[in-house]
């Protein structure tokens, strides 16, 4: 057991993958930025000045404080200022990022599970099933992803009772974004499956009495996961942006539990009245998060593509 772990660590440290990482400044910087933001969001409850989701900790008198300046009524100082309800912008960003990241990760996981399983089945079984699935995917691709997500969001909202809408909103968001992103995954996985299933090791497995399920999971899945990893990373950035867009449009996370998109929506109302910090800081955070994840995804695609080495 120890040997196995040791082996794996040794292999990982000596891989081309790590070499490529060490020699890509963009990847290193993006990785550090993304890691800081994710850790910052995850650990927020331990160090955030206060919990913006808890109305009891808010003081309306603190509203519209400028960054690093004492409030004119209470004299309290806020690192990044406060918004209209007196919520500390720094804390709302941290907590908002938790929601953005949670929705992003969950939506991507959902899209991956759906896309990978459907892609594997379509590619391996082929025939009319493949044709049917890929035509559905084609039709969905003709609509912009955000439109599909809004449509699904709207339908799902119609089904949830009014008093549960705020709690359900995040789950509906996840399903909506996941359903709008499975197509890319399914297509890539299907393509990779078509290549793998004709390789001789799959034929050998069939000869050795392995059933289709075992071949799909044991042989083909591990060999298509590389390409899935790349889309997963890029989809994560897309999902975070999609969530922000939906929330910005007012159909995503509710104002009581704001995500980065909701914060930007709140902030844009005050931009021209001088309270620029309410908009700027969430927007910059969103930009940094999406950009770093996207750049990481780009690097990953190149690093895992042997033809570019």
């Amino acid at each position: 057991m120890f040997n196995k772990i040791h082996d794996n660590i040794f292999r990982a440290l000596n891989s081309d993958f790590l070499y490529s990482f060490k020699h890509s400044p963009v990847a290193i910087v993006s990785f550090i930025v993304a890691l800081t933001l994710v850790l910052g969001a995850v650990l927020a409850p331990f160090y955030a000045p206060h919990n913006p989701f808890d109305p009891a900790t808010l003081n309306l008198m603190n509203g519209f404080s400028a960054p690093m300046k004492p409030n004119q009524f209470t004299g309290e100082v806020f690192l990044l200022g406060t918004d209209d309800q007196g919520r500390d912008v720094f804390s709302t960003i941290l907590y908002g990022m938790r929601i953005s990241l949670f929705v992003g990760f969950a939506a991507v996981t959902f899209a991956m599970v759906l896309g990978v399983s459907l892609g594997l089945i379509a590619g391996y079984v082929g025939g009319w099933l493949d044709a049917l699935m890929m035509r559905i995917a084609d039709v969905q691709l003709t609509f912009p992803g955000i439109l599909v997500a809004m449509l699904i969001f709207g339908i799902a909202k119609g089904f949830t009772p009014i008093d549960q809408r705020d709690q359900m909103a995040i789950w509906v968001l996840i399903i909506a974004i996941g359903l709008s992103e499975w197509v890319q995954v399914a297509r890539v996985v299907r393509g990779a499956t078509l290549v793998e299933k004709n390789k001789e090791y799959v034929q050998a497995a069939r000869l050795n009495g392995r059933r289709s399920g075992g071949i799909l999971i044991g042989h083909i899945l591990p060999n298509v996961l590389g390409s899935v990893l790349v889309i997963a990373t890029i989809s994560l950035a897309l999902a975070i942006i999609a969530e922000a867009t939906l929330s910005f449009l007012g159909v995503g996370a509710p104002p009581t539990k704001p995500s980065l998109g909701t914060l930007i929506r709140i902030g844009q109302g005050y931009l021209f009245s001088g309270e620029w910090w309410i908009l700027l800081f969430p927007a910059v955070t969103l930009l940094a998060l999406a950009l770093s994840v996207n750049l990481l995804g780009d690097w990953l695609r190149d690093a895992l593509n042997p033809k570019l080495k």
Binding site: Y201, Q203, L207, N208, G209, N223
Partner: protein, 339 residues
């Protein structure tokens, strides 16, 4: 050569046909007004393979030998005809239990040792796959021991099991493939272009290993190759395929010393030979015709120097003698082979 006490037919292939639909998709066919295109990859092939012998199928690329191999192991269903191995018809769905047992007794070794091993699996897992799948050993400990034994058997070290396929050379990978094929204790192994991806020095090692294994486990081989020198080294009997049909089946010795069919002669004339250095060889003239639209009559007639009117019209029937089968009008009429 071993003395064979009993000659039992292990593999019986009868009138095997395989068609491939290579036409364009339905919509394109309608728009471009094209007919369906059917490729006849294998046409009326009948072969008997005796227990313990090595039967080789030779022919140019596209002659259908790999398709025959895939049908024999059950990777492709035949369009027509029957394959019987050890007395059990492969298409007989009523004998599922026997078929499953039979599955473990038929193995195949593939041409490309780089594509035939899953790059993400350790060698020990690859070799253990048939053992686990057919539940041949009782517990994990026995499986590990068996894998080590197999690795030693094919000339690798038991510690190689911990490695991944990409850590091996082509010849070593082919040894791993052989170990995997032996893992299910097969009786019959189909080798599809076993050595064509290896360099010559390694080819000889692998072929000798196969011979040793055949003696040790009394295996029966179906050897698919286009390399006649390999075939000469390995085979007891040889079948020559041309455009999906068998043109000649004969003992290895007879075939090399006294080829009857004009196509076999052409093939043998094209072998590079040290003693012939300096002299001109006769390369095979022409190319194999398009199997979608094969020539009428004997399919070999456009390239055959002896072809006459009958060859262009009438499909020749196999002529059986005690040790050979020849499909040629010229041989039947005595026009060919009496010079």
């Amino acid at each position: 050569m071993k003395k064979r006490t009993q000659k039992r037919t292990l593999v019986k292939i009868r009138n095997l046909d395989r068609l491939f639909d290579v036409s364009k998709p339905f919509l394109n066919r309608i728009i471009e007004r094209e007919e369906r295109k059917i490729l006849r990859a294998v046409d009326d092939v009948s072969i008997d393979i005796d227990e313990g012998e090595t039967f080789a199928l030779v022919g140019e690329s596209g002659s259908g030998k790999s398709t025959v191999a895939k049908m024999v192991v059950g990777l492709l269903p035949p369009t027509k005809g029957s394959i019987e191995i050890d007395g059990i018809d492969l298409s007989d769905k009523s004998k599922i239990k026997e078929l499953r047992k039979l599955r473990s007794e038929i193995q195949m070794i593939f041409q490309d040792p780089f594509a035939s091993l899953n790059p993400r699996w350790r060698v020990e897992k690859i070799i253990a796959e048939p053992i686990r799948s057919f539940a041949l050993e009782k517990n994990e400990k026995a499986i590990i021991a068996k894998v080590a034994e197999l690795l030693t058997l094919v000339g690798l070290d038991p510690s190689d099991g911990r490695k991944f396929p990409h850590e091996f050379s082509g010849g070593q990978r082919q040894r791993i493939c052989i170990a995997r094929a032996l893992a299910s204790k097969p009786k019959f192994i189909v080798c599809d272009e076993l050595t064509s991806a290896l360099d010559v020095s390694v080819q000889a090692q692998i072929l000798n290993l196969m011979k040793d294994l055949q003696d040790e486990f009394s295996l029966t081989f179906l050897f698919i190759s286009h390399d006649l020198s390999v075939v000469r080294h390995m085979a007891n009997r040889i079948g020559v395929m041309y455009l999906g049909r068998i043109v000649e089946i004969s003992n290895s010795k007879d075939l090399f010393e006294n080829p009857k069919h004009p196509y076999t002669k052409m093939l043998l004339d094209a072998i590079p030979d040290l003693e012939m250095s300096g002299k001109d060889r006769n390369p095979i003239e022409g190319e194999i015709p398009n199997p979608i639209d094969p020539p009428k009559g004997c399919t070999f007639h456009p390239r055959c120097p002896f072809a006459n009117e009958r060859c262009r019209k009438e499909i020749p029937m196999p002529i059986k003698s005690d040790s050979s089968i020849i499909t040629c009008h010229g041989v039947e009429e005595g026009r060919i082979g009496k010079e």
